[in-house]
Structures are given as C-alpha cells and as structure tokens.
C-alpha cells in the first residue's frame, strides 16, 4: 500500500509539473495585454508602460514561470493584476461558493441517480425501466444552461420560490446559503444524474449476470434482496469512478451555470479573468483545478479499496 501510495504521489507531482508548463505556455501566447485592458481606451502609452513595469510583465517569460511555480509551491499564488488582491484569497472566497455548489449538486445527483438506476435495473425491460431510461436520455440531451433558464423562468420568476441568482453568503445562515444554491445545483445535477443512473443501471446489469447473483438467489434471497445485498456494492466501482469524474467536472465545469445564476464561483472567476487577461489568476486557478481533479481521482482510487477487498491486498 505504501509503495503504491509513493508511486502515485510521484506520478502526481510529475503530472502537475507538466500541467503547469502547458498552462503557462497556452496562456502566454494569448493576445491581449492586461495593463492596457486595465487602463482602458483613454490611457496614454507611458501610463501603460508604467503599469506593465509595476505588474512585472516586463520580465522574461522563463523567470516569470519560475517565480510563479515556486510561489505556488510555497502557497503564494501571486497577486491578481486587475483585482490587486492575493489570488489565494480570491480563490478561497470563490471556493466557498463553488465547493458547496459542487457537493450539493453531486449529492443531489447521487440521491436521484442511484435509486433510479437500481430501480431500472431490477425492472429490466419493463415499463419502469423504459421510463427511467427514457428520462435519462432526455436528461443527458438537455443543455444545462437551457434547463437552468427554464428553472429560473418557472421557480424564480413565476413562482418566486427561489432567487433568480446571486449568492448571499454563508454568514446569513446555512439554510439561506443552501436555498440560494438550490436552483443552480439542480441545473447542474440533472445531466449528471442522468449519466450516473445509466452507469448504475448498466453496472448492476453486468453484476446481475454474474454467477454469484445466482448463488444468492439459490440461497433463498428474493431478486430485490439479492440486488441490494450483493449487487449494489459490486456495481459501485464504475459508479465511483464516474462520481469522481463528475465532482471534478462540477467544480470546474460550472462556468456556464455560474454565469446564468451570476454566482461568484471559481468558474466565473476564470472566465472573467480570461477576458480581462488577468493571466496570473487564470494560471493559478486552472492549476488548482487540475490539482483538484488529480487529487479527487486519487481519493477515488483509494476508496476503491474500501469497496473491493481484492484491491486491498498489500504486496
């Protein structure tokens, strides 16, 4: 196990190093100068030059790369060009929206998807299966921003159960915070739930064909009991993999939903930073997201061992 961990961590560091180079390279070729963006159309050449100097944009690319990377390693993510606040603080603030939103959406999608998948699998080929599968087909096909738009129209504008967007902050209480994140979480969760339900169903169906399910039936378990006691846990590995992937997607991929609901999350931060050419923010946040994805996948790998004793063996 220790050996496995060490090896994983080594390859993890290597991945991060390569990722940092790729990100830096892509961002460096982006046309657009943060200094002139900040000063707008009225600015004079010398003012822009002064600002470039102040931002350290005149140093060589290589030295900027190294100071960025060494900064990241020591936890100093640099200072945003446009906001002039430490990137770490900005990210910290945004994380308090994005992380709960991702978790909320993930929990919602899991709560919907797993029972739906199990239900469909145990009614394979029957009406119940077909309706669940039909619903998932539509769920996967609906563009999430379109769905979000619909949610706002119905629940915010017409029924006025929820705010149309924005985030009031956790200091107003847990309930108020969750309430504000409900519509975005639903919009995010729906397509994910559809995918997850399908994965759950097909994983279960694969398991249902296994001999040990027949053994379980031969012991006297009913079909439902057999699925619950023997099927679900064995089907969990592909499901866990997808949940891991989804979590990283939800963390980073919520840009559009954050846009629709004007939530101050990480995704929108990157999006704004890209259009403002706030390079350091883009670099650091993308790097962080990559780090998060790699870590989540790592954790998912570790949880496999909890689910499947065959992977628990120490060499």
């Amino acid at each position: 196990m220790l050996h496995y961990l060490a090896k994983r961590i080594l390859s993890l560091c290597l991945s991060l190093a390569i990722a940092s180079m790729v990100i830096f390279a892509v961002i460096e070729v982006a046309p657009g100068d943060p200094a002139s963006f900040m000063l707008g159309t009225g600015a004079q050449e010398d003012t822009v030059a002064a600002l470039r100097e102040e931002l350290g944009l005149n140093q060589s690319k290589l030295s900027r790369y190294f100071s960025w990377v060494t900064g990241m390693v020591t936890g100093d993510f640099g200072t945003s060009y446009t906001y002039r606040t430490p990137v770490a603080k900005m990210v910290g603030d945004r994380l308090w929206v994005s992380l709960p939103l991702a978790l909320y959406a993930l929990i919602l999608s899991t709560l919907i998807a797993l029972p739906a998948g199990i239900f469909a699998a145990s009614r394979r080929g029957k009406l119940g299966d077909m309706s669940v599968m039909g619903a998932t087909q539509v769920g996967m096909a609906v563009p999430n921003f379109w769905f979000a738009m619909l949610l706002v129209l119905v629940f915010a504008i017409n029924l006025r159960w929820f705010a149309a967007g924005g985030f009031i902050g956790w200091d107003k209480g847990l309930w108020a915070g969750l309430h504000a994140l409900t519509l975005p979480a639903i919009a995010l969760a729906l397509p994910q739930a559809a995918i997850l339900a399908r994965v759950m169903r097909s994983a279960l169906l694969d398991v249902l064909n296994e001999d040990f399910m027949r053994s379980a039936r031969a012991k006297g378990l009913s079909q439902g009991q057999a699925i619950r006691r023997h099927g679900v846990r064995n089907a969990l590995i592909p499901v866990l993999t997808i949940i891991g992937l989804q979590f990283s997607f939800l963390l980073a991929g919520a840009i559009i939903i954050e846009q629709v609901f004007y939530l101050p999350g990480l995704g929108r931060l990157v999006f704004q930073a890209i259009s403002a050419r706030d390079l350091i923010v883009v670099e650091s946040v993308v790097m962080l997201l990559v780090f998060a994805v790699i870590m989540v996948n790592f954790l998912v790998d570790l949880t496999y061992a909890l689910v499947d004793p065959r992977l628990r063996r120490t060499p």
Partner: protein, 469 residues
C-alpha cells in the same frame, strides 16, 4: 425601506477611480465614496462639490478654489488643500497610472495658499478644466490611505465602503459624519450582473431594486407593461459608431467611407439591435448637448448611391474587410446587421468577435482592423479626432488646429461655434459611420426616486435615492 440593491453590468477590477479604466469603478464609488472639486448634475451641468467656489483669472490661466469646511475622510482625518494638491499632483505625475491622465495635462502647477484654498495654474487657457475636474479620475484622496484605495477605498462621500464580495457585490453604508446633507438610505448593495438573461431574471424576481443600464433592450417592453417597475429611458454620453481605419486601403479614399455611410440603415440597426432605443446621430456628438448639429441627412440610407460611390472609387465589385466586434450587444447585434447591409452594396465584412482585452490589443493599440463598432462613452470627446495616432488614424491638420483653438477658448458662444464646425468637418469627411447615441435604460422598482435618467458620467448616485411610501 431604508436600503437599496442596485445592479450594474460590469464589476470593477478594483475600487480606486484614480488608477484604472473609469466606467465600472466610477459606477460604484464616484459620488458615493469619493468626491471631486466639482461634480456633474444628472443633466450634465458642472456644479461645485468639495470646492465651495472658485475664481478664474482674466487670462484664464489661474483658478483659485475655495474648499468646503468641515470635510473629513472616512478614516476621520480632515480633508484640506494639501490633499487636493496631493491628488492633482499624483494624477499628473510622470509615473501616474491614472487612466485619464490627459485631463490634467493643461495644469502646470498646484499651490496651497491656506488649508481652505488651492490655486491651480495652467500652461495655457483651458475651457474644460472645471468639467475635467468633475470626472471620477479627478476625485480627492488622502495621502495616508492612497496605497489601500484599490481594496479599501476611503473618500469624503456620503457612503462608506463596507464589504466587497468579489464576483458578486459591493456593500456601502451611510457615512454618519458626512459634511453635506445626510442621505435618506442607510445602506446600499451594488450587485454585478453582466449576463442579460440573469439581469432580466433578477429584476423580475425582485432580487434587485434597480438596474443602472439594463443590458437587454428587448425586455424593456415587459418591464413597461408591469406596474411593479418603472422604466427610465435616457441618454448616455456614448456615441455608438462604426469606426473605420482611415489609414487602411481602401478606406483612405473618402468616397469609400461615404459609400459605407450610405450603405448603413441606422433605423434598422436601432430597431434590430436596440429594439428602438437610441437616437440616430450623423456626427460624433451627443444629441442632448446644446451644441449638437443634426447631420443625419448627410448620410441617409441609400444603397444605390453607395454602389455608385464604390464604382467611382474604382471598386464596382466591392471589397472585403474585417469587422471587429467587442462583447456588448450593441456591437455584436449591430455588427451582424451592418455586415448584412454592407453585403447588399457588395462589401464583404468578415465578423470577428473579440473580448475587450483583444479589442484593445488588436484594434485600439495595434490598429490592425478594417471596421469596428464601439460606443465612445467619454463625455465631450470629439477631441479624439484631432489625434492622428488615435485608432481611426484620421489625420486632418485643419481639425487639429481648430481643436487647439477650442481648448484656448473660454467664451461659451465661440466654443459652440467651433464645436459645430468640428462636427461638420468630420461628417463631411465621413471619418466613421455614425450610428446612434446609446440609450441609458434604467429599470427600477416603482417607488424608488432619484435614479439618474441620463448618464453624463457612469456614477450611480446612491445619495440621491429614496423610497416613496
């Protein structure tokens, strides 16, 4: 109700109006947190603010400002003449990062005679100094707090900075020790919603009380029909134009530019892109300004004439060019319509959608473009036509001379005459395609009084707001 939630499209990058592009920062802080020596009224006039009064010398070179008494900054320190000198000197310094440094180039010296009096000396007479000092870039700041202004703005205004949730909102609270009349509302939240759909939803769901300049004109009819809301349509200082790269072939031929002017149907653009909101203009000047000349007839929609002009310019089959479009919907939608209209007379304009940063880089700085659409929102900015290096690359020594004389002129009537001459010149030269004056579409809940109808500057003046009950 004692508070208000006001929304605006753009989030400021930071909160120091003296060190960054004006618009978004001004919207939040100008008149609320920071104040200048003079200020704009909602109808665009310039009136005293921190300067109680002033005297102008005969030759127009010396301005003596007398300051208000008892003014303190939010940190408790007193505002006096030394702060004024510091602020103006800082803005015009060599290493200044003030986005509108040009406003201060006329100043040769700032002197403190006593704590309540400042004398500003000019290099040459400048008729627009008082106007320039009303800009957000000219607000008075204190030396002690200047380092922190970007994140913790400290000014003299009726509201104090409370909190900034980046990406979402800025919160302001009433300044109990304000030197002037204490405003009615105790606190305000300024929210940033750039997405037009989100803006509509937020307004409809009554998450916000007012929207500064609503980004989706197509929704205005719905607000108008709804008794919960009031719609206040006014004008901004934004001349929306189809900028032409005058130095690039074939646009260096005035006939080609004239042809473009006749190919454009302003009404279709205002209708199609702005859903009717916007005033057609025929030159680079705001229609609400008394000096405005209506020259739209000079460039009316006439495709046949446009084709004839192209033929005269030896381009009977038209030509191809690029059309760079920045993000706002007036540009993106208007651009699509213009491309279609140009296609009708044989000009192929390839649409290139760009982010602002890219627009600044390639169009504004790099000048590698054919056509672009942009709204010039600085007030009274016809002077840009006298800058041959400006991105239109229009170089006309006559106009440059005229503008120099204008700057030295203080007599209002003479100024009007000269401004009209300038308007006529650029319209005759068809420097750019003049489309419309950008409307300001304010939406507010019924009962909210004091919102600005027009926008002589980008400020949202919270102090003027109150609720009817």
């Amino acid at each position: 109700k004692e508070t208000v939630t006001y929304a605006t499209s753009l989030e400021p990058p930071h909160l120091d109006p003296t060190a960054g592009a004006a618009q978004a920062i001004d919207a939040v802080v100008h008149f609320n947190i920071f104040e200048g020596l003079t200020r704009f009224t909602p109808d665009g006039a310039v009136v005293p603010l921190l300067a109680k009064s002033w005297e102008i010398s005969e030759d127009g070179l010396t301005y003596t400002f007398t300051l208000q008494e008892g003014v303190t900054f939010h940190d408790g320190s007193a505002m006096d003449a030394a702060d004024v000198k510091f602020s103006l000197d800082r803005a015009r310094a060599e290493d200044s990062t003030n986005a509108q440094k040009a406003l201060f180039t006329a100043i040769s010296d700032v002197e403190v005679t006593d704590p309540q009096t400042v004398v500003v000396t000019l290099m040459e007479p400048n008729g627009s100094l008082l106007f320039n000092l009303a800009w957000g870039d000219a607000v008075i700041v204190a030396e002690e707090s200047v380092e922190m202004l970007k994140t913790n703005p400290i000014g003299t205004g009726p509201y104090r900075f409370n909190e900034w949730i980046q990406g979402d909102r800025v919160e302001l609270v009433r300044n109990p020790t304000y030197w002037g009349e204490v405003p009615p509302l105790s606190a305000a939240t300024i929210k940033f919603i750039s997405d037009p759909t989100a803006a509509f939803a937020a307004m409809m769901a009554e998450d916000i009380d007012a929207f500064d300049n609503f980004p989706a004109p197509e929704n205005v009819a719905q607000f108008e029909a709804d008794p919960r809301f009031q719609v206040l349509v006014g004008s901004t200082e934004g001349e929306t134009i189809l900028s032409i790269n005058n130095a690039q072939s074939p646009f260096d031929n005035p006939k080609v530019r004239e042809a473009i002017a006749h190919a454009i149907d302003r009404h279709a653009i205002i209708d199609g892109a702005m859903f009717g909101y916007g005033t057609p203009i025929g030159t680079h000047f705001a229609p609400h300004n008394p000096a405005y000349l209506d020259l739209t007839g000079q460039s009316d929609h006439d495709p046949d004439k446009a084709r004839a002009l192209l033929a005269e310019a030896n381009l009977p089959d038209g030509f191809s060019t690029t059309l760079h479009l920045p993000p706002p919907s007036y540009a993106r939608r208007g651009g699509e319509i213009i491309a279609a209209q140009l296609a009708e007379v044989g000009i192929t304009a390839e649409i290139i959608n760009v982010e602002w940063a890219q627009w600044l880089e390639t169009v504004f700085k790099g000048k590698t473009y054919g056509l672009t659409i942009v709204s010039h929102t600085e007030p009274m900015d016809i002077g840009i036509y006298a800058r041959p290096g400006y991105y239109f690359q229009y170089d006309n020594p006559d106009l440059q001379g005229l503008m120099n004389r204008l700057n030295a002129t203080t007599d209002p009537e003479k100024r009007t005459e000269m401004l009209q001459m300038a308007q006529q010149t650029i319209a005759d030269d068809y420097v750019n395609g003049y489309l419309f004056q950008l409307a300001k579409i304010g939406i507010a809940k019924a009962g909210l009084n004091g919102t600005w109808v027009n926008a002589p500057t980008a400020a949202i003046e919270i102090g003027a707001l109150s609720w009817a009950d």
